[in-house]
Symmetry: C2
Subunit: 746 residues, 2 copies
């Protein structure tokens, strides 16, 4: 460890490590995606861990460029900000609404001041690697370091000589919910609960987090604080604390309120280190304590940090890339790192977790996952899990089916046991079908089908997932009934889901169902406007919506019929019937011309999900595959870099990175639910994926460029298991062959 500390002090730690990099974790730069609204953060976290310990720098100072309370804001950390107000415990990465990011832990020195407008600090020497983050607080001369286990955090502060303080702020956080409860357990321990929720301004999506916090040194003094309600008149004169933060110096029993905290005061020697451990649970305080004790066992910071790093190396190491630049490796492994953050563990070490949309405490056999941003992740993230982490994907699918069992509906955007109903569609269907189609079938398939059938066929009024199902079932499309009801976007999602459901029904021998759902899936044709050559909203009377501008809707501008995008971002989103769409457009030529125009005219949005598979659609047409290869390479180079703004936009819980990871490996699952990939030239000379033999019957899958030294960006030939193949291959064939070889055009 000495070497690391020394390097950190020399402020060359990061660069130094990079040069000596040997392990996958060394290629991860957690600062990528931490600005440009990427909403990633450089905090310490384990793969798919419940806990993350994240530097919180989005409140308390006008010096910050972005303030969580002054605008839309959904991440605890922003790279270009400068005022640190503590570590937040348990956070979301790559989401678009404010949530979690509370249990704020801050060190200070000198007189106790519990107002975050005052106690925050500027910083320097910021550095991060998987499972580790460090920062030097210039105002206090405090070195702060964070690491994590799956369900607990561990923070180490190195203090100067004198009065030092540790503050736990339960009043602030990214979440829009307020209210917390806490009690002192001993001189070195507090426990409590904080209310979280209201994700994406859904007022009922509320849930509690329970915590236990321990410091490893007995403080000189400790207590609470609470922001007092303002008073008027003589009461205001007499109560000197009214409207202010009141320090509780002699009260150590239960405390509760909107804005409370705990303080611990120490006399420290120069360089003295104090560690603060935080265990959390979404079930109970007792489980939070058990999580902390079972996962940390009182181990020291360095040990916990090494364990976290090992977890990352094990997981990232399932894919080995060779060739390519150092920067490409960094983009790749950081992408894989981002793809391994959500969904994350929900159950405690004893297996308990909160029932989906219910008040029961249940016990899970395998891992119970949470944070399913499925409108995003059904497109590629779960396909990546299925291929590289199949045991994990199976637990995710089981979690989804169990949510149906507990709540009566598959998830749409599940968050710690709450259905937030964010975005649209029925995205669990393609995820589960895709998984099943790829041979991962060890879940309750009948119940899964029952769940899918329910949402696909229940009347709209009682249909949580498809509220406009009456129109959809009756008309074959969803008409525009309110100006900004996103009706076309809804229907496009239903088509895709129903196509996957049809295939699933077919495979299960339910021919009638299969026929019905397959027919439904082609209803997209209703929306095609000959006049504009795009999809176009339909009014309740069956006529097209007018006036119509197919390019309206960029940059989150509201637009009738479409959600977060223009008609151009949606018109090619019929991945299950690309050829059919081409026929509708007048044939391949027109299709290719218009799709190319989307890119040429800047109508393509690399940061929003409906169009991210567009570059791969060219490869459905013989002779046009070069466009895929060209565009993917260009998009990777332009939007995925090693800089903090090195993501095209919101990471969407791994979906942006999922695109990059697949694309850099040379294949992409462009049609969710269909077990096929479209191929492009890999960014690396050789990619080795360690397969799980239990599921795939073999140890590895190798993708390589046969002539890596040849210059050229285009594919001449592809061989699967040594035999020539086309630009689209099935998952089964890929696994079966175990070897995919690209020959470049020199």
């Amino acid at each position: 460890m000495k070497k690391h500390v020394l390097l950190a002090f020399l402020a060359v730690w990061f660069v130094g490590e990079r040069l000596a990099a040997q392990e996958p974790a060394d290629y991860v730069d957690p600062f990528i995606g931490t600005t440009n609204f990427g909403t990633c953060n450089p905090g310490a976290v384990c793969p798919n861990g419940m806990m993350s310990v994240v530097p919180f720098n989005v409140m308390g100072s006008d010096d910050n460029r972005y303030d969580k309370d002054a605008r839309w804001w959904s991440t605890p950390y922003e790279y270009t900000n400068s005022y640190f107000t503590g570590f937040s415990h348990v956070n979301l990465s790559g989401v678009g609404c404010p949530e979690l990011g509370s249990l704020l832990l801050m060190p200070t020195t000198g007189e106790l001041d519990v107002d975050y407008h005052h106690y925050g600090s500027k910083y320097e020497k910021e550095s991060a690697s998987p499972g580790y983050y460090t920062i030097s607080l210039t105002k206090y001369d405090i070195l702060a370091e964070a690491t994590a286990t799956p369900r607990s955090g561990l923070v180490r502060f190195t203090f100067p000589e004198g009065k030092s303080n540790i503050l736990l702020n339960l009043g602030e956080g990214l979440t829009n919910e307020s209210g917390a409860y806490m009690r002192k357990v001993s001189e070195t321990e507090v426990e409590g609960m904080k209310v979280l929720g209201t994700f994406c301004y859904n007022p009922q999506a509320v849930f509690p987090i329970y915590f236990v916090m321990k410091v490893n040194k007995v403080p000189q003094a400790s207590g609470y604080w609470k922001k007092q309600r303002p008073m008027v008149g003589v009461e205001a004169e007499w109560d000197k604390d009214q409207g202010k933060y009141k320090l509780y110096t002699k009260y150590a029993k239960d405390i509760a309120g909107d804005d409370i905290g705990a303080w611990f005061a120490f006399d420290t020697e120069k360089g003295e280190q104090i560690e603060v451990a935080m265990g959390v649970s979404f079930v109970s305080i007792a489980n939070a304590r058990e999580n902390l004790e079972k996962e940390q066992h009182g181990r020291h910071f360095e040990t916990v940090r090494e364990e976290a790093r090992k977890r990352w190396n094990d997981d990232l190491g399932r894919i080995l890339v060779e060739g390519g630049t150092e920067e490409q490796k960094t983009v790749f492994y950081t992408g894989l790192y981002h793809a391994l953050i959500h969904p994350n563990l929900l159950q405690d070490v004893n297996g308990q977790y909160p029932q989906m949309e219910g008040d029961k405490i249940l016990t899970s056999k395998g891992n119970r996952y949470t944070v399913f941003s499925l409108w995003d992740t059904y497109r590629n993230l779960h396909q990546l899990m299925t291929l590289v982490y199949p045991e994990r994907q199976l637990d995710m699918v089981r979690s989804m089916v169990d949510m149906y069992r507990e709540h009566g509906w598959l998830p749409k955007w599940e968050l710690y046991g709450r259905e937030t109903l964010t975005m649209e569609g029925d995205p669990s269907i393609p995820v589960i079908v895709d998984t099943w189609m790829k041979g991962l079938r060890d879940f309750d398939v009948d119940l899964a089908y029952e769940a899918m059938y329910k949402s696909a066929t229940s009347p709209g009024k009682e249909n949580l997932l498809r509220p406009d199902n009456d129109d959809y079932m009756n008309l074959g499309y969803v008409p525009l009934r309110e100006q900004f009801d996103n009706s076309v976007s809804h229907a496009l999602e239903y088509y895709i889901a129903d196509y996957a459901l049809a295939a699933f029904a077919e495979a299960l021998g339910k021919k009638e169902d299969a026929k019905m759902f397959r027919e439904r899936s082609l209803g997209y044709r209703h929306y095609y406007s000959e006049e504009y050559g795009t999809f176009r909203p339909i009014l309740p009377d069956g006529s097209f919506y007018s006036p119509f501008d197919p390019s309206q809707g960029a940059n989150f501008e509201p637009v009738p019929g479409f959600h977060e995008g223009s008609a151009w971002n949606y018109t090619f989103y019929v991945p299950h019937d690309v050829k059919g769409l081409a026929r509708l457009m007048g044939g391949k030529k027109n299709f290719v011309r218009k799709l190319q125009m989307v890119f040429d005219k800047g109508l393509y949005d690399p940061a929003n999900e409906p169009d991210i598979a567009y570059p791969y659609l060219f490869s459905y047409f013989k002779g046009e595959e070069w466009r895929t290869q060209k565009l993917v390479k260009e998009l990777l180079a332009k939007h995925f870099t090693t800089k903090p703004d090195g993501l095209p936009g919101n990471e969407d819980t791994g979906t942006m990175s999922g695109w990059a990871v697949f694309s850099m490996m040379g294949f992409y699952p462009d049609c969710p639910g269909v077990p096929e990939y479209t191929l492009t030239l890999p960014a690396f000379d050789r990619v080795t994926i360690k397969l799980n033999p239990r599921y795939y019957g073999k140890e590895k899958l190798v993708i390589e460029v046969a002539n890596p030294k040849a210059k050229g960006d285009y594919i001449k030939a592809i061989r699967l298991g040594g035999k020539k193949c086309g630009y689209r291959i099935s998952h089964r064939d890929l696994i079966s062959a175990g070897h995919l070889s690209f020959e470049k055009k020199p």
Copy 2:
């Protein structure tokens, strides 16, 4: 019960009952002292019970004359107000600072509205008797009734047909502390905690109350509410609840915050009754539940009400009065009722209670009492307890000595385990000494003496009870070091305490101590100003404070040297050396002349403690005793009536009533710590006090007027046990004789 309900509906219940009155409880009018700043309330309570269920009508409407948040305000109920916002559970009666009065329970009908500015109601048909209160809410046509056990409340609502709601508001209350925590236990039960404290603006005197609340009907729906923190900008646009009360309709786990509540919605039939039971504890939620279950056993409202009434009849019935008017009986029994509210039980049914100024949970063998407003109650309340309820007084003394054991100091103004340090002096000493002198000695006498000696002799800096003890010990008085430091008031209290302590030391054989303390107790002479004939503040250089106005300080006007009173209210307050004070003043004649002048010129304040024994001082001087008899009769008639303003001012937790009760019985303990009484003509023909034979060796004490039919207001002769006696008698002689007879001058 039919008869009662019928009478209530005829709105003649109270009058009807009064005419048929046979029991002591029938003579209690809980509305006496509920205006004119008496700060009593008509709520349901058991004798010395922890629980009281009180109509809360001091917030939410401009129609109210007094609002808790708009001015100094210390009572949950004001007779002249008109807007009811629920029943507060656990309240203080007759105090001068806001505290407790939370856990507000309100019934409404129609659409749910949780804003107390809206949901309150005007009312009619208000009625109360010991252990019972009822009100009819005109806005909702709801009849609300309340009763109580010692540690639990029971409220019954009679609803009209339709949508009905029950609200538990944890955000408001009389206390200046905020913050609460709650969780749903079942469809019909919630449990939680509320932070209380900051009594008399002492920011650290904070303590929790735990509760369990049950409704006896399963609601159609239930949930929480919380006032949301205000937001700005787009957040404010997106969060429709910001700054408002948000209803939680789908969240039923832990909730916490400054301003939270629970709602229960019912469909009710016309006349349907729903009962709401509330158990409380100052130890834990589990104990709150046990208190509720052990004391109510699920019994119905009428049964609990009858039990409460029986408790009152048993306690009030320890004194039987005959003769006198119905109004005098009402004043007397209401006074006794008020004297039996505080101190009240602190321990739970399992014996557990919170350590004094500490975090331990301890177990009490006897009853542990709390709410010791000792600067008030040491003057007569504890003497009343000692005589009529000796077993209770002994538990109070044991509680006080245990507080020393737990905390290192005897109490001054103890409130639920916190020393609020309100008012001044060392009032535990006269209370304990007085009790011991009257033969109640079954407590840790050595520890009690140790405790008294500690506060009497510890240096000021480390002396919690006598912060100015350095001056006092060095100089024999306390000089004025700050303009409004109440220095003379402080010292006068120390003199009285030290006199009692001297007698105690003497009795315990500690002659040196006795001498020291007795000498100290005469230090009051320093303050006597020949020039003004009153006590006068002394400056640190030994000179008197100038300019000086002995009448300054009435009506709570701040005045140098004196606390809540003028020099005239304090100058005769040397009850342990009345004769010595008279000598200082130039003899009996001057003393009597000046004391009479205090009354004649309106300088006497019947509502503040330091001068309330003044009327009895005349009886120290032969031939002047008629003045006592005349003044006591006049003061009773003028200040103690059956009207809501029938107390002279703040009840001071039973001290005003203690004065009236003793005075109406014909004797008064004018020197706390000295086991003697001064006699005056009783208001009744015959008073029979049931004595506790265990302590007094006999069953009763009778005070009677030998010639009741004779007209006349003055005493001709007094006989104790048949033998003529003077105007001052000892406690021992009174008990020993068992019979005190007054002969009126016809």
